[in-house]
Structures are given as C-alpha cells and as structure tokens.
C-alpha cells in the first residue's frame, strides 16, 4: 500500500496483485475525479426499438438526497422511480443495480376551456423532498400544476378479521362463534404512490422550474414571467415573489428560464433569464423580489455576433453547487461557473460544443437551437456534466482542467464495458475515430443528466432510454 498525494487530498492506493499492476486512485465516497475516473456502462432502462413513442420521451431525471432512489418523468405524464439494490455482501466492490420501484401516472392531459388550450401532461421537473419518515415525498410538475406525491411501502397486512373473509367478502354474522384480534402478517412488498397535495391555478404561463427550500417547508415554482412561493402544507394560496411581466406586453424583452433556491440559505434564490443574466434575490429585503440583490452578467463578445447571438445566450438551466459557493449556468454552447461573490463575469467557462457555432443557421432551421440542456454537479463539486447531441455528454473536471466526451449508446452497452472517450473533429482533417460535425445525429440529444449525490454514479437520459453509468471499481 502507498500513500499518494494529489490535488484532491491524500489517498490510499491499493496495488493490485494482477500482472498488469495498474495503479488506480480509489476515490470511493468522494464522488470526484473527472478524468482519473473510468466510466463503465451499468444499466439501460427503456424500450430497445428505434420507434420512439412520444409519451415515452424522458423529460426529467432526478436522484433523491441519499441517491438510493432515481426518478424519471416522461412526456406521457408518468413518473418511474428506480431503487438501488442494497450492496451485495459477497461483492462489496459492486454497487447495487437500480430496479423499478414504483410507476405512477402523475399528471393527465387537461383542457383549459377559457383559452381553448390543451395543457400538456409532460412532467417538466421532479424534485425530491428530504426524507423525514418511512415514506418518500417528491414534487412533480407539468406546465400548470404541481403535485406532492407520497411514496410509501406496504409489506404487512392485517389478517384475521372477524366479520370479513380473507378475500374481503363479508361473513354471515350468524357464523361467527369466536372473536379474535386481527394481526399483521407479512406480504409481498407493495409500493404505493398517492397524491397528497395539488398546487394548481397559480401560473398563467408555463412552469419551467420548481425548487425545494432548505427549510423543507416551502418551495418555489417559476413560469416565464413569475416566481411563486408555496408552503408545502397549503395548496390554496401562494405568494408571488418575482413578477417581470411588463405593463405592456409589447415591451417584453426577457423571460425567466430557470430558478433555484440556495442549498443552505433559506432566504436566497436565483433566477436566470433568456438574456443570459442571473439575478440573486434575498427574500428578507422585501416581499416582492423584483429588485435583485445581485445581477450576474457577462458582457457579450462582439466578435461572436450573429443573427442568433441573442437566443444562444439564453440560459436553459441554473444549479447551485452543493457547498453553496458557486452556481453553474448552461446556455446553448457553454457551461459557466459563477462565484456568488463576483457578478461581473463567470470564474470558469467550458465550451460544450463550440463546433456548432458555425452551424447555428441549420440548427435554427431544424429547431435544435431551442433545445434546453440541463447541467449538474457531482457530489463534491469538482466535476460538472452536461449533455450534447449524437447522444454525447460532456464532463468537465474543474480541478484538473480536463474534459471528456462520452456517448450513451446501445453499442457500448455491455456490462461493465468501459466507455471510450469520443472526439468531434471541428473541421479540416478528421483523425481516425473522430466524428465529423456533419455526421452528428441532432435527433439524438441528451438534455437531462443527474449525478448521484455521493457516489460516482450518473444517470443520462437519451430520448427514451435511461443509461446508468458508474466508475470502474477494482
């Protein structure tokens, strides 16, 4: 055994006894290491056939706070929850698989009679509540309505009723000669999902985000022009805390694109806009937080001006780091990390697919330029991840200044197969194993990704499949 010191601290390195003698840094539990980590295929969920039913298109992915549960929402309004199997005692290095735990229909299509508009049942976001008792709670939302779901297990049932048979039929009272006390007997595990609260009729525009506060009592929901604050127990009232609707709609210049509460300051939240700005608001300052406390904005690079500069600067996702010191934003071509103490510019910028800058016109034609990519942090905030096209996804290691492009595909879906880094050739000479920009499949996009809060396990959603990858363990 040796002690090795690297940028992430002192690690104990186990020399393997095999002939290859490969040294690997064991970072179990740290959840870090973008490029020292080798990512392996673990599982894929969803139908195999290429004919994708629209209802099966995954629209959101979210791990719960412990990472034991993984929830997905789809365009058909369904929520599927996967649960990680407990670690196998005989194989301690092998992490448990995720298997279906519960499936339920969260939202149904509705019709707004006043506006003659259909309300899509597509699940836009799922957010887990921290676990307080045996049951699990999550918030799921479509364009107009947020619902609080309780997911509980039932593994015992009462047996031995006096007036009822075991199948539920009532007994003839005259046949009852003795009395007994019903007892609980074990049964096959049943997972039930029940809607505990429905938060409706508070949004005129389409809801794009929900975020649970660190006080675990309130949460916010945001649409294009307004942010509302709710109490989890109260459904008939919400407080409007941000309203950017202009008096004259013809003067509208920007909309809200994403919102999030600070992870440990319950009075602070941020919202991003279609103009590429992020506003941080403090709810202690005033009831209506139209006036921001901080405005994060990077001046535009004039050399990059084009027809589409304005729309590609629109922020599609904003996420605080776990430690609450930084936040990450995703716009069409890049990921930016901002220090909350510096508003003038981001501290780090990572280009996700810069080779698309010269293709913006085609991407506008095929509507891809409107795709809203999400981004996520790993457990210790050292690596960030986001999706791209051709079922590629990218990871950026902030500490080591390295990045990698990986692909979620059926071809590399052999158990524990190590993912090979991919490369896109921007132009000119194309090296072997590189893919040219023109052969990228823009129908295969990864918009939603999630990282386990503690381990190096990631969930990556392609159009209708969910891939689970984990780091290679020795």
């Amino acid at each position: 055994m040796l002690l090795v010191e690297d940028g992430l601290g002192i690690c104990v390195v186990h020399l393997s006894l095999s002939l290859s003698l490969s040294l690997s840094l064991s970072l179990s539990g740290a959840g870090g290491g973008g490029n020292d980590v080798q990512w392996c295929f673990s599982q894929v969920k969803g139908a195999i056939d290429d004919d994708v039913a629209e209802a099966d298109i995954i629209s959101t992915v979210e791990f719960n706070h412990s990472g034991e549960l993984l929830a997905t929402g789809d365009k058909g309004g369904r929520v599927v929850i996967f649960q990680q199997e407990p670690e196998n005692k005989s194989q301690p290095q092998c992490r448990g698989e995720y298997n279906v735990y519960s499936t339920f229909q969260s939202h149904e299509p509705e019709f707004d009679y006043l506006k003659s508009l259909e309300i899509e049942e597509k699940i836009n976001k799922i957010r887990w509540l921290p676990q307080k008792n045996a049951a699990q709670f999550l918030l799921s939302t479509n364009d107009k309505t947020i619902k609080l779901w309780k997911i509980s297990e039932r593994d015992k049932r009462p047996e031995g009723y006096n007036l009822k048979e075991e199948d539920g039929r009532y007994r003839d009272p005259t046949t009852v000669t003795t009395l007994r006390v019903p007892v609980f007997r074990p049964m096959d595990l049943m997972v039930e999902a029940s809607p505990r609260r429905v938060f409706a009729n508070a949004h005129t525009y389409h809801i794009n985000s929900i975020s649970v506060n660190s006080d675990y009592e309130t949460y916010l929901s945001a649409d294009d022009l307004r942010v509302n604050l709710w109490h989890l127990e109260i459904t008939d009232r919400s407080f409007n805390i941000v309203d950017i609707k202009p008096a004259n709609m013809e003067e509208l210049t920007e909309v809200i694109t994403a919102t999030e509460f600070h992870p440990n300051q319950c009075n602070t939240f941020v919202y991003s806009s279609s103009k590429g700005t992020i506003r941080l608001c403090d709810m202690r300052e005033s009831a209506l937080c139209d006036k921001h406390s901080k405005l994060f904005e990077e001046p535009e690079d004039p050399s990059n001006r084009s027809f589409f500069s304005e729309i590609i600067s629109s922020i599609s996702d904003v996420k605080f780091s776990h430690n609450g010191r930084y936040m990450m934003t995703r716009d069409y071509l890049s990921v930016k990390i901002w220090d909350l103490n510096m508003e003038s510019r981001p501290v780090e910028t990572y280009q996700v697919h810069e080779y698309l800058r010269s293709k913006l016109c085609s991407l506008y034609e095929n509507d891809c330029i409107f795709d809203k990519f999400e981004c996520c942090w790993n457990g210790n905030d050292s690596v960030v991840m986001t999706g791209s096209y051709n079922n590629f996804f990218r990871m950026f290691d902030r500490g080591q200044k390295k990045d990698v492009t990986l692909e979620a595909s059926r071809e590399s879906s052999k158990p524990r197969a190590v993912l090979k880094p991919r490369k896109v050739s921007a132009g000119g000479k194309r090296k072997k194993d590189e893919i040219s920009v023109d052969s990228l499949d823009f129908n295969k996009k990864i918009l939603h990704t999630a990282w386990h809060p503690q381990e190096n396990i990631i969930a990556v959603a392609t159009t209708n499949n969910l891939y689970i990858f984990q780091d290679k363990l020795n």
Binding site: E120, T257, S306, E310, R357, S358, F370
Partner: protein, 219 residues
C-alpha cells in the same frame, strides 16, 4: 448580397415557425415566441444595415441620384399598419411584396429613401411591422458574419438559385405590381401639407406579416 438573401430567408423561416407554434400542444410558448421575434428583429436589422450601406454606396456613385431619390421617396409607400410604439420620425418606406428582388443588378426602377434602422421594442407575438423598399441596386459589401461564411455548411441559401428566381420574377413585375398603390394618387395625398419624408402616417396597408407570407408562398 448573400447576407440580405439570408436575412430575408431567416425572416421568412421565423415567421413560419411562429405560425406553426400556434398548433403546438400546450399552446404557444412565450419564451420561444420571444426568441423567434428576436431572430426576426436581428435579421431585419442586419438587412437594413446592409441596405443602408448599399444605398450610401450607390448614392456616392451616382451624384445625381439623391434628389431623385427624395422625390421618389415621397411617392413610395410607407406601409406598417401597427404603430407598435414607433416614433413619429418614421423613415419613409415603400412596400415590396416581391421579396425576391435582389440587389445584384442595376435596375431602372425607382428606389426608396435609405431605411434608417430604428430599434423598436416589439411584443413577441407581433411580427415586426416593417418592410423593406424595392432595393437600390448595388453590390453590398457584406460584413464578415461567422455563420454565414461557413463553407459547405448547407445552411446558406445559394445566392445563385435565388438570383434565378428573382430575375424571373422581376421580369414579370417590372411594371407596377398590383399591390402597390398608384403613384399618382399618392403624390396628391402627400401634397396635403405633410412633413414629407418623415411623415409618420402610414397608409393602412399590407403588413410585413403578409408580405413575408407571400414570400413563403413565392418560395
């Protein structure tokens, strides 16, 4: 030249997208409508900037032209139907229904006054209510534009093809197109003490929306 054709194409494309977004399940998305209108405005601004340059160049080349232009400008149409917060100093613009006219050839047709691009604030659902003039013939020096210079990207409209189209069309409508009101009537109206070039009054006419719609149909 290519830039202008590209700008027009993008405006037409955006309009098409705006129309089709009304059919989407769940209704029109505000964010998307806003983005579409921003692109349209960008394209329009770039188009007019390029036009302005070309007009200035042409004016430089033909010293006699400016006076002629002014007179003709009074004559030609100012179109937009909706004020949308426009200032009174609205540049005189003529309407052209056939967007297909390009600037690649010298033409004996009258031109309009240089269009001054004014930043307008517009609602996402309102299509910018501006049209361009019958273009003054000139070679426009296109500013370097990143995505328009990408070779083989497949996204740029081959200028040649549109030229072919436009030459054909121009032949047909070299005479007065029927959607333009007659000059004679206009002159008589204009004599009625208006402030000339900068008259803010527009004849309720065809808006950009239908003009571009015609473009889509024409294409």
């Amino acid at each position: 030249m290519e830039l202008n054709a590209e700008a027009k194409r993008i405006m037409a494309l955006s309009l098409g997208k705006l129309y089709s977004s009304r059919m989407h399940r769940g209704g029109m998305k505000l964010h998307r409508s806003l983005q579409l209108s921003l692109v349209m405005r960008s394209a329009r601004d770039i188009y007019f900037t390029a036009k302005l340059e070309s007009d200035a160049e042409a004016a430089g080349r033909q010293p006699g032209a400016p006076g002629e232009d002014e007179e003709v400008a009074m004559v030609t149409e100012a179109v937009p139907a909706q004020p949308a917060g426009q200032a009174a100093a609205d540049p005189q613009q003529s309407e052209t229904g056939t967007e297909a006219h390009t600037e690649t050839e010298l033409s004996p047709e009258p031109s309009c006054a240089p269009a001054v691009t004014q930043p307008l604030t517009e609602a996402p659902s309102n299509v910018p209510a501006r049209t361009e003039c019958k273009p003054k013939p000139a070679q426009i020096v296109t500013p370097a534009d990143k995505e328009n210079t990408s070779p083989g990207s497949g996204s740029a409209v081959p200028a040649l093809a549109s030229d072919r189209h436009t030459r054909k069309r121009r032949g047909n409508s070299a005479a007065e197109p029927e959607f333009l009101p007659s000059k004679k009537a206009r002159m008589e109206q204009m004599k009625g003490g208006e402030s000339g070039l900068h008259s803010g009054s527009c004849r309720g006419g065809v808006s950009l929306a239908s003009a571009l719609f015609r473009t889509i149909v024409a294409f």
